[in-house]
Symmetry: C2
Subunit: 193 residues, 2 copies
Amino acid sequence: MKLLEDRIREEGVVKEGNILKVDMFLNHQMDVVLFRQMAKEWKRRFADAGVNKILTIEASGIGIACIAAEEFGCKVVFAKKTQGKNLDGDLLTTQITSFTKGRVFDVIVAKKFLGPEDRVLIIDDFLANGCALEGLISIVKESGATLVGCGIAIEKGFQAGGDKIRGMGVRLESLAIIESMDGGKLTFREDGT
Amino acid sequence: MKLLEDRIREEGVVKEGNILKVDMFLNHQMDVVLFRQMAKEWKRRFADAGVNKILTIEASGIGIACIAAEEFGCKVVFAKKTQGKNLDGDLLTTQITSFTKGRVFDVIVAKKFLGPEDRVLIIDDFLANGCALEGLISIVKESGATLVGCGIAIEKGFQAGGDKIRGMGVRLESLAIIESMDGGKLTFREDGT
């Protein structure tokens, strides 16, 4: 998606260790004009999928997921990160290793919000090694819902997550795929849009 | 706001210890149709305020803040909760005591996202004792921005936060104010809308 690639080029900052900072518009300050265009693009790509629930994970997935939910005409559920406390009620749970934060989170969704009647689109802001996405996929499977696919804003195509998720047979639509950011120079994968 | 009060009556669950669970539509599952109506109501109430930035705090403020930002035609910044790690860069910081989670968070906003040119509306889902809101207000003051007011979804009117914030001279617009939930019976404050 050219609009998003342009914003990453203009306002993204590449830091040492293959870190891309996009806090100007995506995950600290949030540009909802851009979010609306991203949401319309996910809707275009998943128009035929019968999505009736969006699943995301706190915190920075929530904004894009809410705007996308208006396009799909459905509700959002966000998975909560906990650290082993206050786990009461009927819960879907998994664990996610965060490499950036250097720890393991329990991730929970109340069972009553995902079930066999749901056709779920997972939305998140970043895909790198894929741990968060694998966790959300396992929660969808545990719930008995149908996973229709995953919509990601920015995929780091040089890390293993994208191949791993696509290798599982999951439909994965990333709006911008970074092939390389060696030496601070951003190269995007051609996506034909 | 009658629409929100009705949803709280229909889908809210009162638990022991004056806890109100609204996870069906506000802070775990999120009903963006309702969020859009709430956003329009905040826009109506703050139509004259020249809002050009919305500030919220992760996680459950982000969804309502993003939808509201479309109504106001501005960007959102969300404050991040940390626990003393990774505090780099030029930051506005404060501390917030969470009674529900029983701990103190450092709360941060990058300085580059709030400054004297900003007219800030703070949006959050709940107001009870007011600690989170006081923290966000202190961040706005530290930044040199103008605070135009606070838009809250649900205020627990029987706790001290609302009086405290209004007593500071801050314009506070809560869409539903609960006067009492003794014995599980919800009573709302009349707001004339």
